[in-house]
Symmetry: C2
Subunit: 143 residues, 2 copies
């Protein structure tokens, strides 16, 4: 039951909420022991804050829930590959696993030759089409 | 009067406040038209939050002050070279100028071959010795 698709679907729900708010539709959840401890979506426009990416909010929220700043035994599910800022934050958090929906060749951390923490396992391509489609649909609606 | 040293001294005062709180002593200010619109210091331990670097707080705070997310015509003065996370946030902010005290060869963005926004001017080495000394002193006190 608790597959990567199961939790990525929740991250996609967050992305859909962002879309409804006219935000670039990216969502994520952080899971610990099969329990969702943080969920968030991009809020940069709503909050007028470039740092309000889904991942940044989720990292702060999960640390607050856990009472400690390191996200040990936690997995982040995010619909789009994290940017440089979010990859840096994930590195500092020492999170155990990051599961990515769609790649972001231009702004994602992978093509910048950045890595996360050595302890962090990275999985890509989970529900890639759905995660990619929602972003494409958003930018098409903006043209 | 409003030299780079003038504002870096304010950033150093923030770093000293961090030191007193047993935080890694890094401080910054953001200046617009020679007016300080945000000041902050590292609070990762106090807030139990890896994202609570001085620069991240200052970017959010300055955007809040300006009522817009882009830090046009703003200068950030920071005592230590920004990390990957903070360089990513600064890129998104399109800030006009970043003035750095001491380099951080290991964790700073420059040696990771990252750049800020094309519009951003970067100056390094302002009050380098003072900015570097306070960090060294902090880690010496920890051994």
């Amino acid at each position: 039951m608790f597959t990567d698709e199961y939790f990525m679907k929740m991250a996609l729900n967050e992305a859909e909420t962002a879309f409804e708010k006219d935000e670039v539709p990216i969502g994520c959840v952080i899971v610990s022991n099969n329990r969702v401890i943080a969920r968030s979506h991009n809020l940069t426009e709503t909050l007028n804050d470039v740092t309000a990416h889904a991942e940044m909010q989720a990292i702060t929220s999960a640390a607050n829930f856990l009472g400690g700043k390191y996200l040990i035994n936690c997995t982040l599910y995010v619909t789009l590959e994290p940017c440089v800022m979010c990859s840096g934050a994930l590195s500092w958090s020492q999170i155990s696993k990051v599961v990515i929906g769609a790649r972001d060749e231009q702004r994602g951390f992978i093509n910048k030759n950045l890595t996360l923490h050595p302890k962090t396992e990275i999985v890509t391509g989970v529900m890639e089409n759905e995660c990619s489609s929602i972003v494409k649909e958003f930018f098409k609606s903006k043209r």
